[in-house]
Amino acid sequence: MAPFPITGRFVGDFVPHLVEVDTDDTMDQVGKKVARFSVGHRIPKPKNLAGYDVFLGDVLLSASTTFAEVMAENTILPLQWFDVRFRSPEPADA
């Protein structure tokens, strides 16, 4: 369990943020941590929010995968860029 800084972009917002995640965080938690700086601030919150999807490059990361597991399988340096989108059958581009 350790804090780790990432560059988190909520797709549709104009700027990515410095986001502190924990290596024990699941991607569900990482998605929420990234989204909270954009959704409801500059991006409207949808009425039926199904959660958030997290992407490393073009790869959708499983919601239950922990950040530590992502680090074990990929080279992740401080400030690595992660994308987050609304989870839905047809992801909405805000």
Partner: protein
């Protein structure tokens, strides 16, 4: 009989010594002059059109000084400042805090020309440039000192560059690089030719016109007086470019291409918001993009063509950035307003929005929808939702937020690993600039890097504000206390 100037001018400006007790290379090191690969005799062709003598210089400058001070004294007595629009005043806070010490840095750059430039003609002109920049620093300080009793933000004219305020760090980073770190040749191309001869037109001519329209005659007059000096000493760039073109055109192209992009990003930050958002709507002359196209783009294209250089490879991306970059910097600075030492004006009332959409056809889709959520929060009395609680990710070249160069639809990662460290960039162009000379930029820590390396404590926004030197008496807030949002209150309901 007193000689005419033409009888002695050529001799006086070409006066040089034949060194006997020190090697020329020791007295004029190539790394200071930037003369590697250029034969010494090439500099004999270095010439400039202004032909200024010291006597002429002092006479003209004295007249300029008297003019500026007469206007300033009269307007101070008339209490004009108290009647100015709040948003316009923010533009002068921003200008003074981010420009005055750049003028002072330019004194050092010009003094390097005086000492290390490879031709006495250039060294001679550098003396006048050095005196110019000293005058500009003092003008800014005098102007701000007079107004300090009205607003402590004018203290930042002197103070800003002694703080770690993030925007100031971005400005300082660029000018440290092209004024203080660069050799004479590169400084002349990046600063004299690119910044002073091109971009300062936007800040000192266009903004002066806006200031005059806003009734700020004192500031307008000061800007115009400074620009007359800039127009002269900026001439050091052209003959330097001519020499470099003949002996190392690739170096000339690269130096200009890097400087032009870095200047663009800086002026998108300093001038763009002031022109398109802070200047009262009925007093705007042209949009920032229109000024850029007329005063910078045409001008730069002409220089490149005249000297047989190509447009930068990123020219289309640059033009696209003119539609977006300063809008990004504006919404970003407004949102992160507690980190500023001026009060930004949102500038998105319905009338202003109509103007923005007319000037920038993609504004609504790129930026308006983001403002809509902010407006909703303002009108729902959820101001805390319009304030930041983390930092934006920053570019390791420009020190500006990622995403602030293009539109939100174009935002994508530009990252590279250099010597084990991950670097981030606001655009493909900024990454390219870094790749041209990575050692030059690699060691620097952005504000975000300082945050995660533990230099900023406590590691939260309050700690960040303390590290920046932002105090409650200057901390930025909405210039009109959200009055502009009432426009939308009925449609929200």
């Amino acid at each position: 009989m007193l000689l005419n100037r033409d009888d002695w001018y050529q001799t006086s400006r070409d006066l040089d010594w034949t060194l006997s007790y020190v090697d020329h290379e020791v007295a004029f090191p190539a790394e200071w002059g930037g003369t590697d690969g250029i034969p010494a005799e090439a500099w004999e062709g270095w010439d400039e059109p202004f032909r200024v003598s010291y006597r002429d210089y002092v006479r003209v400058q004295r007249e300029k000084e008297a003019g500026v001070k007469a206007v300033s004294n009269a307007l101070t007595r008339a209490g004009v400042y108290e009647k100015l629009d709040h948003a316009h005043v923010a533009a002068s806070h921003l200008h003074m805090g981010t420009t005055c010490m750049v003028e002072h840095m330019a004194v050092t750059m010009q003094s390097r020309f005086c000492r290390f430039a490879p031709t006495p003609r250039w060294r001679n002109l550098g003396v006048f440039g050095m005196l110019d920049e000293t005058r500009h620093t003092q003008l800014d300080m005098r102007f701000s000192h007079d107004l300090l009793k009205h607003d402590p933000r004018f203290d930042w004219t002197q103070k800003a560059f002694h703080t770690n305020e993030w925007g100031v760090l971005a400005v300082k980073n660029f000018f440290d690089d092209v004024m203080l770190n660069a050799d004479c040749v590169e400084a002349a191309l990046a600063t004299s030719l690119t910044v002073e001869h091109g971009f300062t037109n936007v800040q000192f001519v266009a903004l002066a016109a806006d200031a005059m329209a806003a009734g700020d005659i004192n500031w307008s007059n000061l800007l115009s007086s400074i620009q007359t000096d800039e127009a002269r000493h900026a001439q050091q760039g052209f003959p330097t470019l001519q020499v470099l073109i003949e002996h190392d055109p690739q170096r000339a192209q690269k130096a200009l291409d890097v400087a032009f992009w870095r200047s663009t990003r800086l002026f998108q930050t300093l001038t763009g918001p002031a022109m398109d958002y802070y200047t009262p709507l009925d007093q705007r002359k042209m949009s920032f993009k229109e000024f850029m196209l007329e005063w910078v783009v045409n001008h730069h294209e002409r220089i490149l063509e005249d000297y047989g250089l190509k447009k930068p490879w990123y020219w289309d991306q640059f033009l696209y950035s003119l539609e977006n970059g300063h809008h990004a910097m504006h919404i970003g600075t407004w949102y992160w307003r507690p980190t500023l030492f001026w009060n930004p004006n949102a500038g998105v009332s319905k009338d202003e929005r109509e103007w923005l959409n007319e000037k920038y056809p993609t504004w609504e889709d790129n930026w308006g929808v983001l403002w809509d959520e902010i407006i909703k929060n303002v009108n729902d009395d959820c101001i805390e939702e319009t304030l930041p609680d983390t930092l934006p990710a920053l570019c390791n070249l420009t020190q500006l937020p990622l995403g602030s160069a293009m539109s939100r639809h174009d935002l994508e990662p530009h990252q590279l690993v250099y010597k084990g460290r991950l670097y981030s960039f606001d655009s493909e162009i900024s990454q390219w600039c870094f790749e041209q000379d990575p050692e030059r930029y690699a060691g620097h820590e952005s504000f975000v890097d300082r945050f995660i390396s533990g230099k900023i404590l406590p590691a939260d926004l309050a700690g960040g504000l303390m590290y920046m030197g932002i105090t409650p008496d200057v901390m930025g807030e909405d210039a009109y206390q959200y009055e502009w949002a009432k426009d939308y209150a009925s449609t929200d309901a």
